[in-house]
């Protein structure tokens, strides 16, 4: 177990170091703030189109943090040590994902509240939006782990990763956007919960399988 605790602590610390939580947050908020810029001042339009875009900003913010997730470990030799650990790689990857969720997913979910308001989401929906983002982030990260692991060996995989991972981001985004628009909130949240569970359970297994092949 202490291998997992160590991995979690280490990765969490690494993500806070340099840039810190602020960085992905900045990306998220920045990307979201581009929307009003692009769409112009009409509040009606923004009110209609804005809220779901919170999800795009969130998805892309996660994507930006995924590229180097395993690539760095592969290049600097850390992956070798992960493979020699006393704990199975699957759990170690799970711990890394958990650290990512705490360091990036959670802050973004929380920041989702002000951002959603800025994008004219009805205040009544904010709690649901934050909750849905929290679940959605878990789903994104679970799927992202696989994409990151599969492309770890590829140079500039960060953009190939987008091609591979975005399809898997589609379901959470669709249902998350539904929440943001106030459509069938309850059931959408359920589906998101399902996505999150499935991703958290299957993601690490697939990612570990891919990583074993990466270490050469």
């Amino acid at each position: 177990m202490s291998a997992l605790a160590a991995t979690f602590r280490r990765d969490f610390a690494l993500m806070l170091a340099g840039g810190g939580v602020l960085a992905p947050l900045g990306y998220f908020v920045g990307a979201a703030m581009l929307v009003p810029l692009a769409m112009g001042p009409e509040r009606t339009l923004l009110a209609a189109a804005g809220p779901p875009l919170v999800w795009i900003a969130a998805a892309l913010a996660v994507l930006a943090t995924l590229e180097r997730l395993f690539q760095a470990d592969l290049e600097d030799g850390s992956l070798d040590q992960m493979l020699l650990s006393s704990a199975p790689l699957e759990l170690i990857v799970l711990a890394k994902g958990a650290a990512l969720w705490c360091a990036v997913g959670l802050p973004i979910a929380v920041a989702g509240a002000p951002v959603a308001i800025a994008l004219q989401a009805p205040p009544a929906l904010i709690p649901a939006i934050v909750a849905s983002l929290g679940l959605g982030m878990a789903a994104f990260i679970g799927a992202g782990l696989v994409g990151a692991a599969v492309t770890a060996g590829v140079k500039r995989g960060g953009v190939l990763i987008a091609l591979i991972v975005l399809p898997f981001f589609a379901p959470p985004i669709i249902f998350g956007a539904a929440v943001a628009q106030g459509d069938y909130v309850g059931s959408a949240l359920l589906v998101l919960g399902g996505c999150a569970l499935a991703a958290a359970a299957l993601g690490p297994i697939a990612a570990a399988a891919a990583l074993r092949l990466q270490a050469e």
Binding site: T7, E75, L83, S86
Partner: protein, 207 residues
């Protein structure tokens, strides 16, 4: 499992007609040898002859083309190996202390970081981020892994590179102590490490 406890299992490594290919080219074929507990095996060969490939195949990172690698008298396969490769496996932003703590957890270490960094001569640098370490200091940190968690078999890839005279003697002592404990050390080298090898394995000329 304390660091002081010798390896009663008498670990043994047997390699049978091993062949390794990289990127579709056979690097070496038909390699076989046996290494007993307490042995120091020096791997020699020209640049590109396949020393690193062999070590990675032994560690299980690289699937061999043919042949097999057998560890005998190893009770916990997950805890059998240490690998120190060309890459030190450091994270630029993490401090020396953080690295030792992480490895202790990851590799199931029992020793405290303080003693270790003292041994390898990193005392006083514990709070520096790895980014600022000099080449030799970074190498010492990687070598510190060997002392953090007791594991019977050490696979070392040019462990002495970038080390100064003092660093080399420390390394030599560490290796001797490990062999004396009944550990098994395989090291790829271009020059002798110091302790007289029980076995020298030369890998065929590269391209």
């Amino acid at each position: 499992m304390g660091a002081n406890r010798p390896f009663r299992e008498e670990p043994k490594l047997r390699v049978e007609s091993l062949a390794v290919a990289r990127g579709g080219r056979v690097i070496f074929e038909g390699l076989g040898f046996v290494a007993e507990a307490g042995a120091l095996v020096e791997l020699r060969g020209a640049n590109g002859s396949g020393k690193t490939s062999l070590l990675r195949a032994l560690a299980g990172f690289l699937k061999p083309l043919t042949g097999r690698v057998v560890f005998e008298n190893i009770h916990e396969p997950a805890l059998a190996l240490h690998y120190v490769g060309h890459q030190n496996g450091l994270k630029p932003t993490a401090s020396v202390r953080a690295h030792l703590a992480y490895w202790a957890g990851l590799l199931g270490g029992a020793v405290t970081g303080e003693d270790v960094s003292m041994t390898v001569g990193l005392a006083g640098l514990a709070d520096l981020p790895a980014r600022v370490l000099s080449q030799g200091q970074a190498r010492r940190l990687a070598i510190a892994r060997l002392l953090l968690a007791p594991r019977p078999i050490w696979l070392l890839d040019e462990p002495a590179s970038a080390l100064d005279a003092k660093g080399r003697t420390v390394l030599a002592n560490v290796i001797e102590a490990h062999c004396a404990q009944g550990g098994l050390v395989l090291a790829a080298v271009h020059e002798p490490l110091g302790p007289s090898p029980t076995q020298v394995l030369s890998i065929g000329g590269a391209s």
